[in-house]
Symmetry: C2
Subunit: 308 residues, 2 copies
Amino acid sequence: VENFREFDLIRWIQSQVPADDPLVRVGIGDDAAVVANRDAATLVTTDMLVEGVHFSLAEATPRQVGWKAMACSVSDVAAMGGRASAAVVSCALPRGFGQDNARGLVLGLLECAREFGVRLVGGDVTATGGPLVLNVAMLGDTEGRPPVLRSGARADDALLVTGALGGSRLGSHLRFTPRQAEALALAEGYALHAMIDVSDGLAIDLHHILEESGVGARVEAKRIPISPDAHRAAEQSGRSPLGHALADGEDYELLFTLDDAEAARLLAAPPFETQVTRIGTITASGAILVHPGGGEQPLERRGWEHSL
Amino acid sequence: VENFREFDLIRWIQSQVPADDPLVRVGIGDDAAVVANRDAATLVTTDMLVEGVHFSLAEATPRQVGWKAMACSVSDVAAMGGRASAAVVSCALPRGFGQDNARGLVLGLLECAREFGVRLVGGDVTATGGPLVLNVAMLGDTEGRPPVLRSGARADDALLVTGALGGSRLGSHLRFTPRQAEALALAEGYALHAMIDVSDGLAIDLHHILEESGVGARVEAKRIPISPDAHRAAEQSGRSPLGHALADGEDYELLFTLDDAEAARLLAAPPFETQVTRIGTITASGAILVHPGGGEQPLERRGWEHSL
């Protein structure tokens, strides 16, 4: 594995980034970037991926890892009803990682950035004696609209989710589509009350909404859209496909609430092709999973949480 | 070492952060933070610290590490002539790091944030099988002024530096003062042409200015302010104090240029107590170190660069 130097990598990255973007007043290569504001406030989020925790280099190429890191942050901005604008990326590269792998990471980051209209405006590169670590901090804005928070759900709201859930660890966690287009169409066209992206798992992310909003929910098990990968994962694990859909996480779908009439209007003529499904109703308190036969059980707050 | 959980730590962090800040429309706990814009553009920078590369937990407490991570990013924003406003922090905590150490990190981050007017608005916490990694992404603004770039130096400019340089590894890299107040006073009161913070080392950071500006410099060795720590480091290393001042890095002083008359006005009555010294002159090309006896040698581009 060849040695290469930090500043050579940075110069190469500069050569890969489009010049003359009106939003980018100062890009890669100074002490900080300068990004023109499109709105009265700026969304900001940060997401750290660690080899051995969020991905394995045995399973994922550096390009896929870069793509995922950027996409996770686009998804976070989308979950606010926002549009991602600019990112700064830090990476700690294991000794011997090599220039080709480092460039692969960057190409994956840039591929995702291009697809979702994000400018890569700066970063930090360091060596590490440990595993690969990649951090994306993302700016965005809500195009003048109020952000859609986790805390806005109200009793009697409809609870909806995009796409299908479960089984992400079979590979979709590396190639999901962050639902930015869908989030923008929803935030523009409908009176959303609350929204989150499903990163920790449907059950736990629903609990985030319930806790922040001070409400409860009844979720109909039979309505939860279960992905083909959840069925495949269940064959391997011996657990149920529903269990995978509830707890696997890294689906990066949108989970959101809005009132009954708005939900009906949305479901009658969705403004996008992506599947969208009503899976339940917000209630005053409690979190209940209703089984197809009518039996009920508490919907536990379980999913992906780091034990530290 | 006790186990503790990600969301418990996040709730504790929320409890440590001041509520009701008009700049923070949405703080810790949603998919993204929302920060009100103070200016037409936003500065953004990111800085990653890795245990074993940027600090050692044998030498530094978690609180010092947190403080340093925040301070490095304040320094980057200051080097643009800007004021830091809000930060998002990611950390990868080694298994068994423990709740007390994690809280220590956060207390150090918040101590520095308070001192420099920064809001901690969000973050990401993950486990790692490797060393501690801490990333701070910082927003800021230039209060309506044009940012001070690395690329603005002109031939015949005076070259100045704040503070004294060298020997940071004896401990000052953990307790430096980011020169935000000085940077703001300079940017407000004087026509700065170029500025950078000395993180990689005087020689290499000067070269960043020279390369970006397409100019050269003559630096007078006898004028370089050498810190007491550089002398102590030289006793241990057998190298010269000047060598330490030129190459050690992590001084986090400001290196800047402005025209002769402005420099004279500044030096006649500096707007702050911090030492400020003219160390040389920008020239059309080349980088020369002038020794006290009059001898000259090329000022090499050396200092702290990661070999990856």
